[in-house]
Amino acid sequence: MALVYLFLYLPIVVLIVFSFNNSKYSTGWKGFSLRWYGELLSDTQLLDAALNSLTVASLSATCATILGTLAAWALHRYDFKAKKLFQTGLFIVIMSPDIVMGVSLLMLFVAVQLEPGFVTLLLAHITFSLPFVAVTVASRLAGFDKHVVEAAQDLGADEYETFRHVILPMVMPAVLAGWLLSFTLSLDDVIISFFVTGPGYEILPLRIYSMVKLGVKPVVNALCAIMVAATVVVVFASQILLKEKK
């Protein structure tokens, strides 16, 4: 077991250690230094890309969470003809290969002559995050006592009020976890973003991708180290949210 953890973490640890290395060439240890973090701060291109990433991630996570939560609730609460189809649809979006989703969205955007950039990126990210929110919230709803809804409606709440004042507060941890999930999915995506964004709107993973391909600058290490640290924080936060009230 320890070997698997070693395999998974050794490269990341080495990367983080070398982000503090005071050497222009990342071979060999030349002493501890924060210079790459300093250089990162003055690299406006990278900072812009980071800001773009965070903007897209938070906006797409918010939209995907609203839509995904509604989808989960619709599936839990209502019976309708196309329910099976709808469920299968969500599942297929989760399973479909990223690259197929990327090129198909690229063609859609070209067909409707939507300039690749912020909007296309946002639409794509909402689409691939939505089903993940839906399944996260649905699994929380699955354990629900249906009598709660009946009680609310006996007390005069309509469908919207029941959802807003009874169900939503109860599933809130799952909704927040869904948001964090979409947020990280958006930050992590390489393949789909690669196809749907243009040179005018660069996001972090794609900036890293081109930097890695062009030749490694140690400033990339610092950036990657920060992103790993951010992921750790988000994962811990979402786990705490999901554990709550279990």
Binding site: L67, F91, V100, M107, L130, A138, V190, I191
Partner: protein, 287 residues
Amino acid sequence: MTRPSFFKVAAIGGTAAWLAVFALLPFLLILVVSFLARDPSSFVAPSFSLEGYAGIGDGAFLRIFLDSLAWAATTAAACLLLGYPFAYGLARLRTKRKNLFLLLIIIPFWTNSLIRTYALVFILKAQGLLNTALLGLGLVDQPLEILYTDTAVLVGLIYTLLPFMILPLYSSIEKLDPRLLEAAKDLGAGRFRAFFAVSLPLTWPGILAGTMLTFLPALGMFYVADVLGGAKSLLIGNFIKNQFLTARDWPTGSGASVVLTGIMILLLLFYGGSGKGAPRKPEDIGA
């Protein structure tokens, strides 16, 4: 229209419409384009053609395609061999730290896979950690050339996808009632017999889910081959990417995407037909 039914219509309709426009429609577009002719000036010409698939029947593509399937299958198999004993051990842990150990598997799962791929460069490169260790131990005389070879791509794929195998395996092993194994032992089954007759069939959904979650992405992760690999068109993903962005041959790129989707559908059908149904709950796929 009364308010309750309005909310119902909005909840179902809104999300269904979103998926129809941004998931179903684009896919139909790919399907249509794959049957159109190529046009250098505007990507596709509006006339029916099988060119998109002709390129696929062609020997060069067929090789990439079969190679790519072999790579993905090797990746999935390696992840299974590494992941099963690990997931088994994790699921059977009797300690308070279990959740922490589980969380440590989830973190790489959500860490940017491009960054994780890039981190491997530090280990695999000529003066990297692996070679330093091997030289230091006197196991090799000169640095092994691993980076920019097919081996590096394989290591990269296994490395990025391993958590996707472990999580579904873990959740299905966790559900396995240990009393069933005790019963098997009471009835005289040895460890191997108990494993093959009890554990394996009962954790089969996890094995299938994990295999799908590693096999399918392995076909498409073009950046792993780009960052770690030597050969350019190793995976179907690289091929599709090149058709769209370099060769500007949309029909062929679309044809390859349709084939890839076909593989996914076959796998899903196989999964659905294996008795347990498609994973409907997030735990089943480890999400």
